[in-house]
Symmetry: C2
DNA sequence: CGCCAAAATTGCGCCGGCGCAAAGACGCCA
DNA sequence: TGGCGTCTTTGCGCCGGCGCAATTTTGGCG
């Protein structure tokens, strides 16, 4: 077994990544050899919506947000990814073009494999392909759920759900509750939940008054997750 | 090459299926050997939401609709599948449970592979796995788009989009336009687009009066697809 | 051919949530 | 520490689309 230092470092990052579960260290090392590292400054872009897709990434560090923009200029925040997550997959493995824009919100490092490279690796290591399938199946399921949520629930519950999702995904324990470890402006919240900046602001204020959360500018601390969950699940007034 | 008659018949169906593209006839035959055929009467179910997933299907004939029901009892129509499409994949390949209910709307025949069986086949024939990845990637992309649609567009445009999607997917040329080859009640339209029966009814009536479509009960004939597309794309009044 | 249940229509009232504008609060940078 | 730009709050008005109930239409079926 002879790897140079670079591959050694890459391979270390692959151990905990969902996409590489069940592979031997040797195989991970071989896969790592094909990767290249890309660093992106906060605010800069991995790719833009509509770009031809050439690379599949696995995020090593930082946070990336994915947005789609409608022809009329409204943008929708699809998700925020953290370390260990694969992204660019939908495009690199399927469609030829990125369906969304990926922007670094903190300084990021990601490993990248070319479309052809990753396809070849998957032919060679079927387990890799099965992991990718698992991942994509989960993603489909998630978006079906969110679609249903958007179709049937009113704004209040959607926002509550979104906060809970964020809390679980990128929450960090803090005195007094769980802090969402990423600046999320009211605008961002609105774009995640299909509402407007104003409505989101009103909701968060009310919840702050009720002691459910507390906010400082774009930083949100969830104080009473159970109350938030109650709002998310409950069916308070008779509605659609 | 020695296949019995049954496998011969199955294999024939697999030729045009997206999931089996790029495989040799021999491989397709081998895969067919593992399949079992399931027939479901109109109105009966392939599986229900929440059922443990054990089988991945490829639809041979008929139409299947997939719905999710919210805890409160509202249902959402996620999609309608036709011959050649794979379904049950999200569950059989990823999650252990079906995220939606699959109901036959016409008499259906489908080939099924057990979860373990299809996983083994994918290990053996990586191309199969890559095809599945492509399929799932497309599905993710589709739902991201529909999510954005639901989040940003008003009802009128969503319904227009839905009709166009149906028209392309399961349309059949007919005198005077393209007919959507499946009974779609107003209720179904509403569940597809996140609105209510009433609003859907009003919209379809207006469009019928304008000569864009014509309907008889649950059967919809699209007369002026271009006008429908105009509604779907255009941004008539200033909106969200 | 006529009855019945399911689907579809339509009128009316109401309200959640958007749209905008103006004011206020931070946080940043020099 | 002062100024500036961005993010946020808040009041007010309005309207798209929901909710319901009553009625009509339609197709299926005996």
């Amino acid at each position: 077994m002879k790897n140079n230092a670079r591959d050694e470092v890459y391979a270390r990052h692959l151990r905990g990544v969902e996409l590489f579960q069940g592979l031997t260290a040797q195989v991970r090392a071989a896969i790592a050899q094909e990767a290249s590292l890309r660093s992106v400054q906060a605010g800069n872009f991995f790719f833009h919506q509509g770009d031809p897709a050439t690379v599949l990434y696995v995020l090593i560090e930082g946070r990336v947000k994915f947005t789609q923009v409608t022809p009329e200029g409204h943008s929708v925040l699809l998700r925020v990814s953290g370390p260990g997550e694969m992204f660019g997959a939908v495009a690199a493995l399927g469609d030829a073009y990125h369906p969304a824009t990926g922007q670094a919100v903190t300084p990021c490092k990601a490993l990248g494999w070319s479309s052809e490279g990753i396809n070849a690796l998957m032919e060679q290591y079927p387990r890799l392909a099965l992991n990718a399938i698992r991942f994509l199946a989960g993603r489909v399921s998630e978006f079906q759920d969110r679609y249903r949520e958007l179709a049937t629930q009113r704004v209040e519950r959607r926002v509550a759900h979104a906060l809970l999702r964020l809390m679980h995904q990128i929450g960090r324990e803090a005195p007094g509750g769980t802090q969402i470890d990423l600046a999320m402006s009211r605008q961002d919240i609105a774009e995640m939940t299909g509402t407007t900046l104003f409505t989101a602001s009103r909701l968060l204020n009310r919840w702050e008054a009720e002691g459910i959360i507390s906010t400082t500018r774009a930083v949100i601390l969830v104080r009473r997750p159970n109350l938030l969950a109650a709002i998310a699940e409950e069916t308070p007034p008779p509605t659609l």
